[in-house]
């Protein structure tokens, strides 16, 4: 383990990988995702609790062929995520499959992956769309326990997980405050774990607040310092959600052309996070300082 550049860390993701991307409405690894897009990684199977604008961008950039999610929209408004819709409805720029689960079942599958359990019981699912839809009905297997029939689900174990945190040390000990959603389980379920952080702090600082450590350094493969890396989502204690930017995103990505113009401006048109944040500032959006 050593502190890596974003370029090096994202090179750990191969085309075709199953990738869990952390964060819920907060602490989303946007800077890592932009680098994935710039590196042109393709055919990813993205697991995410709340797909959101982040998944919308990955899908719209053509990086994704499969998704396993509980929902996908722009939480500000709320408004639809148009690139996700174009891919699901029209196969543009590429077709995607959507394996939809209730969030509770999805987080249990990540829990089972993180804890290396062979399966985990599902909630009642019969008669729901998640169960009846043929494209993933095989995900629920029937077992008999104590005379009753139950459904169980297989664990999710991503090839690579990417999470964003406010603090990590050079050893990879990564700390998070605020709601945890399923981030710890998504991180711990992976073969390879990338952590992007607002700040690389001293090991002494980590050892002063060990309650906040969400994954220990020995599980982490790359730590990347990426201040402002979660914009436009917020990071508790660092900066808030940039709701004007997110509303703007919804407004300017409604058509394919407009979406591509967005990528040209905000992803392909900048070489790294510092340039992106400079563009955020120059366009009158939030001042992001970790």
């Amino acid at each position: 383990m050593a502190v890596s550049t974003m370029t090096t860390a994202i090179e750990a993701v191969d085309g075709g990988d199953v990738v869990y991307v952390g964060g819920f409405g907060f602490a989303q690894p946007f800077s890592a995702v932009h680098e994935l897009i710039r590196q042109g990684v393709s055919d990813l199977h993205v697991i995410r609790s709340s797909g959101g604008v982040l998944l919308d961008q990955l899908v719209g950039a053509g990086c994704v062929s499969e998704t396993t999610i509980a929902h996908c929209w722009n939480a500000v408004g709320p408004t639809p995520t148009s690139a996700f819709r174009r891919a699901a409805e029209d196969g543009v720029p590429r077709p995607i499959t959507v394996e939809e689960h209730g969030l509770g079942n999805l987080v249990l599958r990540l829990f089972a992956g993180a804890r290396r359990l062979p399966f985990v019981p599902a909630g009642p699912v019969e008669s729901t769309g998640q169960f009846e839809n043929q494209s993933f009905s095989g995900k629920f297997s029937e077992v008999t326990f104590d005379g009753d029939s139950h459904y169980v689900m297989e664990p999710l174990n991503p090839d690579v997980s990417i999470i964003h945190v406010p603090r990590a040390d050079e050893r990879g000990n990564a700390q998070l405050t605020g709601a945890r959603a399923e981030i710890k389980h998504g991180a711990m379920a992976a073969d390879t774990l990338l952590v992007t952080t607002e700040e690389v702090v001293s090991s002494e600082q980590i050892q002063d607040t060990p309650d906040e450590t969400v994954v220990p350094g020995f599980m982490v493969d790359h730590v990347v310092e990426s201040p402002g890396g979660a914009h436009p989502s917020g990071v508790l204690g660092c900066y808030g959600r940039d709701i004007d930017y997110l509303e703007h995103y919804g407004e300017v990505t409604g058509s394919l052309d407009d979406f591509e113009a967005y990528l040209d401006e905000w992803v392909y048109g900048v070489s790294d996070r510092a340039e992106y944040l400079e563009a955020v500032r120059a366009s009158g959006f939030a001042e992001v300082s970790p």
Partner: protein, 263 residues
Amino acid sequence: MSDPEPTQREQLLYTAAQEFRDESTVFTGFHWPVVAARVARKLHAPNLTSVFEAGIVYRGTSETLPTSTTEINAFDGNTDMYGNSIDTLHTFLKSGHLDRAAIDVSNVDRFGNVNTTVIGDYDDPSVRLPGPGGANDIATHAEDLTLICGSADPERYQDRVSYVSSPGHIDGDGSREAAGFEPGTGPSKLITPLGTFRFDETGRTRLDRLVPGATVADAREMTGWPIEDGDHEALPAPDADELAVVREVLEEAADRNYAAIRP
């Protein structure tokens, strides 16, 4: 001089706010439930606790209205607990400690089933909607579940949704229990811009109360559901002070980019 009569939306929020009692704990879904809970907090429920799917236990009244249930910064300082989604969607929903749950519904049927997933074929949809998130779990496990539909558009009210994103009473007549759901769970109430419905013992909607001025015929037209004629007590309308609070919260929502608020 502001209009002393509430708009449909103002009345809806006022009605929905009554679901959030002081000193109670409510699993509060995305969108209108959050806004209605804020009206309640300002009107009568300063110690309302809201549980949100990402792991937040929020009590009191935060300085700003959050844009969604995951905008942590907006709640920070008014949270009793930062937990995780297994706490909220499994332990809290299933352990019997919640007083109620409330979710936003945009396509709902007579049985309280909610479709937030697709219009058309699942694998080749004409419209791909966002999906249920934690609302599926709330609808699966909650024991006193209120559905809130913010729209009076008849297209929002189905006879039977084609895809059950969040389960109501399925096809009624015990089919929910037969599918393995715990007895006593599922939607108990639906709040609409024209009035409130309860789910009867067959799992179908039954008109309960109408908003002031609305008629059974209006409710029938909006929903397309069979509704018997009869007298229905009118829902209370907000008084002037209460209405001012509702409007204040709606202004906050506009300031925080709530899309549905836009003219």
